[in-house]
Subunit: 302 residues, 2 copies
Amino acid sequence: MYMNNQEELYGAVEAGGTKFMCALGRASGDILEEVRIETRDPASTLSQVIQFFRTAEAQRGQIRAFGVGAFGPLELRRDSPQFGFITTTPKAGWANTDLLGTLKRAFARPFGFDTDVNGAALAEWRWGAGRQLDSLVYVTVGTGIGAGVIHHGRPVHGLMHPEIGHVRVQRHPADTAFAGICPFHGDCLEGLACGPALVARTGHSLSEAGSEDPVWDIEADYLGQLCAQLVLMHSPQRILLGGGVMHQERLFAGIRARMLHWLQGYVPHPELQESGFIAAPGLGAAAGIKGALALAADSAGT
Amino acid sequence: MYMNNQEELYGAVEAGGTKFMCALGRASGDILEEVRIETRDPASTLSQVIQFFRTAEAQRGQIRAFGVGAFGPLELRRDSPQFGFITTTPKAGWANTDLLGTLKRAFARPFGFDTDVNGAALAEWRWGAGRQLDSLVYVTVGTGIGAGVIHHGRPVHGLMHPEIGHVRVQRHPADTAFAGICPFHGDCLEGLACGPALVARTGHSLSEAGSEDPVWDIEADYLGQLCAQLVLMHSPQRILLGGGVMHQERLFAGIRARMLHWLQGYVPHPELQESGFIAAPGLGAAAGIKGALALAADSAGT
């Protein structure tokens, strides 16, 4: 592995459906400068991204390497002609966008590239709530539901990358009337439990749902089922839950209780009972941009 | 990594609930000698295992290292006082058995230790139907349902090890009356789709169910749901399905069709449509014992 020089500059891009966060930082995870760019069409958005880094280089000197953590689905296979593309996203204008290639044509440097959630999982593993673990799942519950997975200290790719938001769950008995909002699956986990699903079910915004609202019991059950499935499928040492929906902090205890309910004692490890097994991200909202910075630092030797 | 000498001898133990297979072999995967020992109580079974390897050493010379692939659940964390134990198995007499310690006291050599299915996955990755892949899931559908997972070329452990058989599935519309047989969960995947569940549902043995029996449509749906969940959770490059139930070869096409049904086009990769994505193990019934041999060879440098 390339040994990062702590004086060198790295460029980080957290590419989201609402905003692109761009930052200049160090291999240590320190952020020197950051900008928020609204996500519009690919050409004008990426043009602003490139302009930010050109200006930063003019002021501070050359960037050693870049890292990009992006919304997906993405093509991550290096031997594919579409490597670095956002592929089948329903986001208008962004399907089949050559995100990585556009940035590489502007900057001939090493580039790390992964999903936003794999990047965030990597940052949490390196600097946040997953330090000294071998395996970790980072879940974000917001506009959608996505997860990054670390095994053996590295993000999981495989054929594509995990798309954990679309697993199926058992219907909560008090939630049989709502059809779910996933355009592919209707009532998959994301269709039932992402932020917009909560809004569609209750007719009011998340901030209007008080902590006693019964919708949180339904939400805790679905996310508890997800955590039980993650334990059985991935056997992680910790599950981190972030994203806008998790601002309702009473969810954590409810999710833990429902995870244990669904496992029915099959996995006897006492760690599952501990409050730290399902936890908030240690880096908070910075996990995404720091993830892109980690991807940049890791790419420097390649 | 230790470079294995192709002349050296390795000891392999595939520890199952019905039988213990013991073999002497090479780091290349070649088996020189093999014996089947019926699984009785731990003391007498392990005494026979030890006797087999003592006799083999007297005849052929010293064994370099051993590998054990075992039924579980197992304690795989090296820093645990129970490292190497079979923990909470319902198999009579075997809960809290110090499997690895008993063998280590007889032979002071390096020992590799993992689940039988992780071992089989490793053997398939190295010598079988998973060569040149980065990620792979090996599922056995027999007395129970278990799976080994390879990411980055290594078996997944984490907190424990995956226990994929116990994930939940959606009920097939023609299968609402059967309660399932899992003592923990009732109608989890294993409770609905393992061999004994098929027998309990139909009242006749697997070999009596002709290939036109509608029970195979139900089985293909449940295993198709498993494969869809594996794609979303693990994004493997290939899924191998082995075990006694998979002797009904018409299952493969049905499982593939049901996996695609449950994914609803969300993962667009054409590889999922190919017949090789869900395949039979390349090593057939030898995957388990060769897995133990792979664990032995990998432990030699430790």
